[in-house]
Symmetry: C2
């Protein structure tokens, strides 16, 4: 429990390698997590070679963790393996659709997050690389993912070079609803976001970005409508091209 | 680590209630997990009242865990709260699209799975209820979810009535690819699935379902093409109606 409570995302790693047996242990633990119908509709591509990290890096906007981490893992929604099994067993699979993608994607994320908890329990640090759902087609090509396989989570993994301070979270009552979703009033929103907005680190962040409010840093710089719409299209296309929207 | 390795899904619960402070602790731990840009684009609806569980049950195909568990939790992708904050802060959000749904949904699943690990660390048992992405519209209505909120994970939670045997998993090498995705040969598939197929419990399961192969139980009975396509449409519609496909 303390591991969960005290965790931080780690973006800088020592050059210490991760033992093969340790990596196996973490993956075994990840695959014990819940999954739909015990079909295990996911795969993990493990990237260790520097040459492969260099190929992946531009499709993750050259975030330095990709080349710096000893191991990069890409968790994929995968019904390809299951389909191949069905073919050999006189069964006709019907997984070439959106629901099957969502099911497999949720299961891949559950496995990925369980991997993260296991890694942190063993003193490693992880970082989620959200760009995997942006330039998805290029990542599919680079990792040679066949039809019915779509990457949904990329993680970087390594021993922490430094332990950064823990970042803030919104108050619990801002995220939890009892029985029904209670729509937020103006006052609720003020209460939920005031701590976050008043942190020195966030005030500095607003100033550095030459914005008037913290919210504007998100909408105007980090997650713009234009980019969100562009990446909506690229990700949707990737799912379609991989065979999930028939 | 042992908690992750030794876990089982729990479908039968004692009637012992879950203390409010314990539930809070688990949710706090869940919300410490990684999320995109620390925007925390998720919400959790906690269902404890028997009357509400009764309302939800039919939309989860009357799976008995819903009414039997002391607590049911529905984790939702939620950009509604963030949008409301933006409006108050002179920021124009651009999250009414597929990418933003995917981002929020992944973050909701990460939080949900972290909740599960925390719960299991405290001696509780959980079960994922996959039907949340099937009759999604009805669940949205029941929980009164506003625009820009879509449920992606439902969990049942309680103290285990019994500890069932651990179910099998596919061998690690069947799920992990080194550097590139290595396409499966016929022999690979035989090796990956043979242990699963030869378990007495699975042979019995095939016989009970009057099928010839285990794969057929999945394709012909549990996850049919017809149902997958129907639920693809209902879930896609739910995402669209909640405002994510503009």
């Amino acid at each position: 429990m303390d591991i969960l409570k005290e965790r931080r995302t780690i973006r800088k790693y020592t050059d210490k390698n991760i033992e093969e047996n340790l990596l196996k242990e973490l993956l075994e633990a990840a695959f014990r997590a819940s999954n739909t119908g015990n079909m295990q509709l996911y795969s993990v591509v493990v990237t260790k070679k520097q040459e492969m990290k260099k190929k992946l890096a531009p499709f993750h906007f050259n975030q330095p963790m990709i080349e710096q981490a000893p191991v990069v893992l890409t968790f994929c929604a995968d019904v390809n393996r299951f389909n191949k099994w069905c073919e050999l067993r006189n069964a006709v699979p019907g997984f070439d659709n959106f629901q099957s993608f969502i099911t497999a994607a949720i299961d891949a994320v559950i496995a990925a997050q369980t991997f993260c908890v296991a890694a942190e329990a063993r003193g490693l640090g992880i970082c989620y690389i959200g760009t995997v759902t942006y330039m998805t087609k290029q990542i599919i090509e680079t990792l040679q993912l066949p039809e019915y396989v779509v990457p949904v989570v990329t993680l970087t993994l390594g021993y922490p070079e430094e332990i950064p301070p823990q970042v803030e979270r919104l108050p619990l009552e801002g995220l939890v609803h009892e029985e029904y979703y209670k729509e937020y009033s103006k006052e609720d929103i003020e209460n939920i976001y005031s701590h976050k907005e008043n942190l020195e680190v966030n005030k500095k962040y607003v100033a550095e970005n030459k914005k008037n409010t913290l919210a504007q840093v998100f909408t105007d710089i980090r997650y713009t409508k234009e980019n969100n719409e562009k990446f909506s299209q690229t990700f949707y296309e990737a799912i379609r091209e991989q065979g999930f929207l028939k």
